[in-house]
C-alpha cells in the first residue's frame, strides 16, 4: 500500500522511510506541509498519510484540517506523529481530523501496528465501496433491461411476422432482416447485462472515462447459484 510521510527533520524522515519500506509500504516523502498537500492533490495520491505535527509553514494539524475540509473522492487515513504527549493535544489532533496518534519517540512496533490498523480500515473501505458499486450496477441493469425488453419484444414480434409475409427475394425483406438483426443484437445485450456478476470497467475515450465492461462483467462461469 502507498504511504505519504511528511516530516521536516531529515534524519527522522530517512528513518521513517526506511522502516516503512522494510514493512512493505510504497513510500512517498514530503519535507513540509505544502509539499504533502500537493502530493495529496494528485489523482494517484496515497490513501495512507503519516504526518509530523511540528513542521515549519503548514503544520500537521493545519494540514489535517485542510484535508478533512476537502471534498475527497477516496478515503484518507491520517496518522499524526508528535513530540507532544499531553492528552489535550491528542484530543486536538483527533478533532482536527487525524485517525490515530503516535507520540515521539515512538516504539517501532507500535508504529507498525497502528499503521497496520490504518491499512485494514482502508482495505475494508475499498471492499465495501466495490460491493456497493456492484450493487448499484445490478440495480440499474435490472431496471433498464426490464424497461428495454418490453419494446424489444414488440419490435421483434412485428419484424418477425412481417418477414414471414415477404418473399426471400423482395428487397424490403433484406432491409427488414437487417432491422430484425439489430433488434436481436439489442436483445443479446440486455440478456448479457442482466447476467452481470462482477464490477469490471474499461477505458472509454482514451482513458478519460471508465464504463462498465459488459463482457468482462458478465463472463462469470459460475452459472446458476
Amino acid at each position: 500500500m502507498r504511504v505519504l510521510i511528511a516530516e521536516d527533520d531529515l534524519t527522522s524522515r530517512i528513518m521513517l522511510q526506511a522502516v516503512l519500506s522494510k514493512w512493505g509500504y510504497d513510500v512517498t516523502s514530503a519535507s513540509d506541509g505544502e509539499e504533502a498537500w500537493d502530493v495529496l492533490q494528485r489523482t494517484d495520491a496515497p490513501p495512507l498519510v503519516v504526518l509530523d505535527w511540528m513542521m515549519p509553514g503548514m503544520d500537521g494539524l493545519t494540514l489535517c484540517r485542510k484535508l478533512r475540509a476537502q471534498d475527497r473522492a477516496d478515503p484518507l487515513y491520517i496518522l499524526l506523529l508528535t513530540a507532544k504527549g499531553e492528552s489535550n493535544d491528542i484530543v486536538r489532533g483527533l478533532e482536527a481530523g487525524a485517525d490515530d496518534y503516535v507520540a515521539k519517540p515512538y516504539d517501532n512496533e507500535e508504529l507498525r501496528a497502528r499503521i497496520g490498523a490504518g491499512r485494514r480500515v482502508l482495505e475494508l473501505s475499498f471492499e465495501v465501496a466495490m460491493r456497493q458499486k456492484l450493487q448499484g450496477v445490478l440495480e440499474m441493469a435490472g431496471a433498464v433491461c426490464h424497461e428495454l425488453n418490453q419494446p424489444l419484444h414488440i419490435v421483434t414480434g412485428y419484424s418477425e411476422m412481417l418477414l414471414v409475409d415477404l418473399k426471400e427475394s423482395d428487397p424490403q425483406a433484406e432491409t427488414l432482416r437487417i432491422i430484425k438483426a439489430q433488434v436481436d443484437r439489442i436483445g443479446e445485450l440486455t440478456r448479457r447485462i442482466m447476467h452481470i456478476t462482477q464490477y469490471r470497467t474499461k477505458d472509454y475515450l482514451g482513458g478519460r472515462h471508465a464504463i462498465v465492461d459488459i463482457e468482462e462483467a458478465s463472463s462469470e462461469a459460475g452459472g446458476m447459484k
Binding site: N149, L152, I154, E160, G187, T190, H195, M224
Partner: protein, 129 residues
C-alpha cells in the same frame, strides 16, 4: 374437438396486441387481459387451455396468477413471458406451476412452438383419461 384458445396476460397493451395478432395469424383463438384480476374474471366465463403470462403485473403478479389458475384448472398449460431474467424467478415459476419460462424479447417462432406443443400434450392427456 379440443379448442385452441389462448389467454395472453400483459399489462402493456402493445404487447397484448402484437401477441394477439401473431397468434391469430398462426391459427389460434386469442384473448388478452391487462391484469391478473381481469384474467381471473375471463377464466370464469371461458375455458382456456394455454396461458402466456407476464410476471410483472399491477396488483396480483403473474406468479400468484399462475397458482390461482392451476388450483382450479389443473389440465392447462401456463408459460411465463417475462422482461426480467433472474435465476430466482425460474425457481419461483416452477414452484407456482409454470410449464416453461421465456424471457423478452422472445421470438414468436419460439412461442408458437410452445403453444403447439401445449395443445398436443393436452390432446394426448384428454385421450388418455
Amino acid at each position: 374437438m379440443i379448442n385452441r384458445r389462448i389467454l395472453v396476460v400483459d399489462d402493456e397493451a402493445l404487447i397484448c396486441e402484437m401477441m394477439k395478432w401473431a397468434f391469430t395469424n398462426a391459427g389460434y383463438e386469442v384473448q388478452t387481459a391487462a391484469s391478473a384480476e381481469e384474467a381471473l374474471e375471463l377464466v370464469k366465463t371461458q375455458k382456456y387451455l394455454v396461458f402466456f403470462l407476464d410476471l410483472n403485473l399491477p396488483g396480483m403478479n403473474g406468479i400468484e396468477l399462475c397458482r390461482n389458475i392451476r388450483k382450479n384448472n389443473p389440465l392447462t398449460i401456463a408459460y411465463a413471458v417475462t422482461g426480467y431474467a433472474s435465476t430466482f424467478e425460474v425457481f419461483d415459476c416452477r414452484e407456482a406451476g409454470f410449464d416453461d419460462y421465456f424471457t423478452k424479447p422472445a421470438e414468436m417462432k419460439t412461442l408458437f412452438q410452445a403453444a403447439e406443443q401445449a395443445f398436443q400434450k393436452l390432446a394426448r392427456w384428454s385421450r388418455n383419461e
